[in-house]
């Protein structure tokens, strides 16, 4: 195993273990348990439901779990007529398992060398946040074992699972959550890998390898939102932290690195705190109402809370002075962990003594809180503002979190942030609440079915790359990028339906979109239809391909509503042939001297000048052709 020399830690020495779970939507005609199609639509039919947590979910010790479970939300489901039926609405039992999805799962299992089980049992996995109308997710193990070949060797596969995707979050307010049912029931394949000890970049490479393997089957959906990576991270065989929902491949390494650092810091901090003699019994649940110390405060957070009738609670963190803001790496500090707890309980925010006085809180107010909470020189305090019962529940969680700080990073579920950091989302669920889905009888799988499925596998990845290189005359690297791209389906469609050159398409869909992303735009927001329209225009000669990035930039930045709008506002309607002829003529005339002295060698300089004047309204190939023609003519005349 190679190690990145730039890592401030040694993955092996800290026993960094990363377990990947890769979920990808399968591209099928129908959903997993009904005949609806995989189409995206918000839906106009709305109905209202409540889910009852099963009794074993209440009465948990963790106050955060109790809070989650007790939230009795109204769930508003939006159903569209093509993407949802009575099955999604939980008004009808599930239909038979989608054979196409099962076949895809068998194909993937075959590629991994995983052993398909003799009989598939569909299970119900409890999910009560509303993202499944039934209150559970239907999921099944299809195969066990196997391995994926990666740059760090063979990584063992734990299982290949087939399951339904959840409803799409639309909105969330106090007491209500809105979901769209279009995504509910779309088949997902999940590949769960054994934990590896490797550098963050190597882990990302493993995820990429799994991604390529899935894509090589030709059976997975492409596009952002069709893939989700869950990353389980632990160090020193400690508690496992689950980072759920990492959608972009290029965030994997960043997330693993952040987690390794965060967990390492928390281990080191725990040692420090213990070394300073702090014990769990020192940390007491004694929230002190400090509201009266802030009657005239300039802190917006506290003032607005008091005006709403909220409470301001202070808590002593004994011995923690200086340790809440202490950082070894940027953004990795205990204070941030505590702030996440407050965010979970939907409080406005959290303040702590290491960062005060600041944010409108004065030294006098700080002193007052210190007095009231009984803080000594080495003690820190935490301040939260919120509705009384919720703030007290939050305090209980904060006390728990402070106690956990003496041991190291706790097991929990976290979510990724755009910069690759992670933040606490909820407590780690207890062992999965699963029981058999009795509406679907067990499904025996014959060895014959497994063989038939593996015969349907397209050629392996390398071969597919070569095929693309040949078929479209692309270089190897470009062919690989295209095949791997989330826009591969679009590429093939555009090649088939338009006259646009594959080389341009490949560059546009891989490099151009990426560079737009680097500019801060969000190319994934451009729908496949929009891109096809753009490409179609180019193919039809109505738009120069050079103009494509500008058009897309205009749409993505909100300056134009669509392709038409962008073309109009940028004034880049393609030049007519007459305009092109006269433009080339005028440039040649302007540069008569160079033409005379350089002859044909003036071509590239002239080309540059024409293209600059064309401002994207002319296709480079056309310009080149016309320029060559006129240049030849012109030189012929000169000779005469």
């Amino acid at each position: 195993m190679t190690m990145s020399r730039t890592l401030p830690y040694d993955p092996e020495k800290i026993a960094l273990k990363v377990g990947l779970e890769i979920h990808r939507q399968l591209s099928t005609q129908q959903k997993l348990f009904c005949a609806c199609s995989q189409v995206k639509e918000d839906g106009s039919l709305v109905f209202l439901r409540r889910l009852r947590p099963s009794q074993s979910e209440l009465g948990e010790v963790d106050p955060a779990a109790l809070f989650e479970a007790s939230k009795s939300l109204w769930l508003k489901y939006h159903a569209g007529s093509d993407s949802s039926c009575l099955v999604e609405a939980d008004e009808e039992p599930p239909h038979d398992l989608n054979g196409e999805a099962l076949e895809s799962a068998l194909m993937v299992s075959s590629l991994l060398g995983s052993k398909v089980v003799d009989e598939i049992h569909v299970m119900r996995k409890m999910v009560i946040d509303g993202s499944n109308t039934t209150g559970f997710q239907r999921t099944m193990v299809v195969a066990l074992g196997g391995a994926v070949k990666t740059s760090i060797g063979d990584v063992p596969v734990l299982s290949v699972t087939l399951e339904e995707d959840a409803a799409r979050n639309l909105d969330e307010r106090e007491g209500e959550r809105d979901f769209a049912l279009d995504r509910l029931g779309i088949p997902l394949i999940e590949i769960s890998l054994a934990p590896v000890t490797a550098s963050p970049e190597e882990v990302e490479e493993v995820a990429a390898a799994v991604g390529r393997l899935l894509k090589s089957t030709g059976r997975v959906a492409r596009g952002l939102g069709t893939i989700r990576q869950d990353i389980n991270v632990s160090i020193f065989d400690g508690p496992v932290v689950e980072v759920k929902g990492v959608q972009q491949l290029d965030l994997v390494a960043k997330v693993v690195d952040y987690e390794a650092k965060r967990q390492l810091w928390l281990v080191q901090l725990a040692e420090k705190l213990r070394g300073e003699g702090i014990k769990e019994s020192d940390i007491a649940y004694e929230p002190i109402d400090c509201g009266s110390s802030f009657v005239n405060t300039k802190s917006n957070l506290i003032l607005s809370g008091l005006r709403r009738g909220y409470k301001v609670y202070g808590l002593k963190a004994p011995g923690f002075a200086g340790h809440l803001s202490e950082e070894r790496w940027p953004n990795v500090r205990l204070g941030r962990e505590l702030a996440d707890v407050a965010r979970f309980f939907k409080l406005g925010g959290l303040l702590h003594s290491d960062e005060l006085p600041a944010y409108g809180v004065t030294q006098d107010e700080v002193d007052a809180v210190r007095r009231r909470t009984g803080c000594g020189r080495n003690d820190a305090f935490i301040l939260i503002v919120g509705e009384e019962s919720r703030a007290l529940l939050c305090m209980k969680s904060l006390v728990l979190r402070l106690k956990q700080a003496l041991s190291g990073p706790p097991a929990e579920t976290r979510g990724p942030m755009e910069d690759g950091g992670t933040r606490y989302i909820r407590p780690r669920p207890g062992s999965a609440r699963m029981y058999p889905e009795t509406d679907i009888p067990p499904l025996p799988i014959s060895r014959r079915a497994v063989e038939e499925a593996s015969k349907k596998l397209p050629p392996p990845w390398e071969e597919q790359v070569s095929l693309i290189m040949e078929k479209h005359r692309l270089g190897r690297e470009q062919a690989e990028h295209v095949l791997e791209s989330e826009y591969y389906d679009l590429f093939e469609k555009a090649v088939e339906k338009t006259a646009v050159a594959p080389t341009f398409l490949a560059t546009f869909l891989t490099e151009t979109l990426v560079s737009l992303q680097r500019e801060g735009l969000e190319p994934e927001k451009a729908s496949a239809d929009l891109l096809m329209e753009l490409i179609g225009r180019i193919g039809g000669g109505k738009l120069a391909k050079e103009a494509a990035p500008d058009v897309l930039r205009a749409v993505l930045s909100g300056k134009a509503k669509g392709v038409d709008d962008a073309v109009k506002s940028l004034n880049i309607v393609a030049m007519t042939d007459e305009e092109l002829v006269s433009l080339v003529a005028s440039v040649i005339k302007e540069n008569e001297a160079s033409v005379t002295t350089k002859g044909e060698a003036a071509f590239s300089m002239l080309m540059g000048r024409v293209m600059a004047k064309a401002k994207g309204r002319a296709d480079g190939a056309k310009v080149s052709e016309e320029l060559r023609r006129q240049l030849k003519q012109s030189l012929a005349k000169t000779v005469e």
Partner: protein
């Protein structure tokens, strides 16, 4: 429970090793080793596979023929469902009796084995539906535990008797939990058997099994208990979802409701009339209308629980075999209810058989298979022909209600003439003179 559900080849394989369901085992096949807990076998699955729950919680099936060895890693224990303690109730709550006939209204899951245990005692009900503790003081009686498609007139009798006793036991209302398939038949049957009811009797079920978080069971049950406690009117009612939303239940008159969808929560609909009321966001809203009011005086109450199973219901269709009607009459049917087409018609090929049945003393009544609307047999020749034979028009009574009514009248031992006039008359609101424009 040792090797529950296993039979044939899989049972044989398991017996050759000393294993029982619930044991932690390690199975060896020629190409793998699988560890987990041995699970019971689903009774309708084949006899060739052995089911194991893996550590991840997933179940998987292994071909018994591929298993070469089974090691027992640890012995299993039976799942324990401890009865939870009774919660503290709010003072002065109404007293409601919940009679269970099947149709699980509440259940608990043992995730380890996947077993689902129905809640039968009131302690279990309160535990699973805690809101009940602020609505009523609930007592339970598990009378039977059958699928509702297996209900018979004999069950209706037993149920009516039990309800009859409860009426004089000081309850404020009675709730009956019931499978949804034939819930409307039972509701109708009870309405006839319980004459002069002074309090509400609410029949309730659930369309989605109660083990799942989305189940309508708890909402329906609480709604039913609310109606049983608070309804200003007396009688037999059905309370189920009014639509797809969870915030509204409909209260239907027991003799005016039908299951009109195989699976939806709002499958039950009032037919030819509006529901008598709703439970909206936990509030009972009932229109008193012409319905008898609830009363503490049960002197006018009579329980007449006798039913007969010598009744038949036929849905008539093109090419219907006349022999079926002859068979019904010959095998002693006291009443035949026909679901005719349209306004109450049958193919003329059935005339002789119908005439014959009436001559043999059977009652023949006509309802419509269109579900909505009333029969009106004076309009067309067919109808007039049937009337002249002695077929009795059942107006806008639902055919299922007519069957229950006929079963009850036959059980009461009335004369043929009394039978005819009673079937055609509106005894409990099952027939009306007018149908509103909708």
């Amino acid at each position: 429970m040792v090797l529950e559900g296993y039979r044939g080849a899989s049972l044989k394989k398991l017996k050759s090793f000393d294993v029982a369901v619930g044991d932690e085992v390690r199975l060896h096949t020629e190409d793998s080793v699988i560890e987990g807990i041995l699970m019971p076998r689903y009774e309708l699955a084949d006899d060739e596979h052995i089911v194991v729950k893996l550590k991840t919680g997933y179940n998987t099936g292994i071909l018994a023929s591929r298993v070469s060895d089974i090691e027992v890693l640890a012995r299993g224990t039976e799942p324990t469902f401890r009865t939870p303690p009774r919660p503290k109730l709010v003072e002065g709550l109404p007293r409601v009796l919940v009679i269970g006939t099947g149709g699980t209204i509440a259940s608990r899951i043992d995730y380890r084995t996947g077993g689902v245990k129905p809640a039968l005692s009131s302690e279990e009900l309160y535990h699973l539906v805690p809101e009940l503790a602020s609505v009523a003081e609930v007592e339970t009686h598990a009378l039977f535990n059958i699928y509702s498609e297996n209900m018979t007139p004999r069950h209706w009798s037993l149920l009516a008797k039990r309800v009859g006793e409860a009426v004089t036991e000081g309850y404020d209302g009675i709730v009956i939990t019931h499978g949804t398939d034939t819930l409307h038949y039972t509701a109708a049957a009870l309405t006839f058997a319980l004459e002069g009811l002074p309090l509400p009797v609410v029949v309730v079920g659930s369309q989605r099994s109660s083990d799942r978080p989305s189940s309508d069971a708890a909402t329906n049950l609480v709604g039913a208990v609310r109606v049983a406690s608070k309804s200003p009117i007396a009688g037999v009612f059905v309370v189920m979802h009014a639509g797809m939303d969870d915030d509204r239940l409909a209260v239907h008159l027991g003799v005016r409701v039908r299951k009109n969808h195989s699976s939806r929560r709002d499958a039950f609909q009032s037919v030819n009339v509006d529901p008598v009321g709703y439970v909206i966001n936990d509030e009972v809203q009932i229109d008193v209308g012409p319905h008898p009011l609830r009363s503490s005086d049960s002197s006018k109450f009579r329980c007449r629980p006798e039913f007969s199973d010598k009744v038949a219901l036929f849905k008539v269709h093109p090419g219907f075999e006349p022999g079926l009607i002859e068979l019904a009459a010959r095998s002693g049917c006291k009443a035949i209810v026909l679901e005719g087409t349209g306004l109450g018609h049958v193919p003329s090929s059935l005339y002789p058989a119908i005439r014959g049945a009436i001559e043999e003393g059977a009652f023949v009544g006509m309802a419509t298979q269109t579900i909505w609307g009333s029969v009106r047999m004076t309009v067309y020749n067919t109808g007039r022909d049937l009337l002249s034979m002695g077929v009795v028009p059942l107006r806008d009574m639902l055919s299922e209600v007519a069957l229950a009514k006929a079963s009850w009248l036959a059980g009461q031992g009335v004369t043929a003439q009394e039978f005819k006039s009673a079937m055609a008359a509106n005894l409990r609101g099952e027939i009306s003179d007018r149908r509103p424009i909708r």
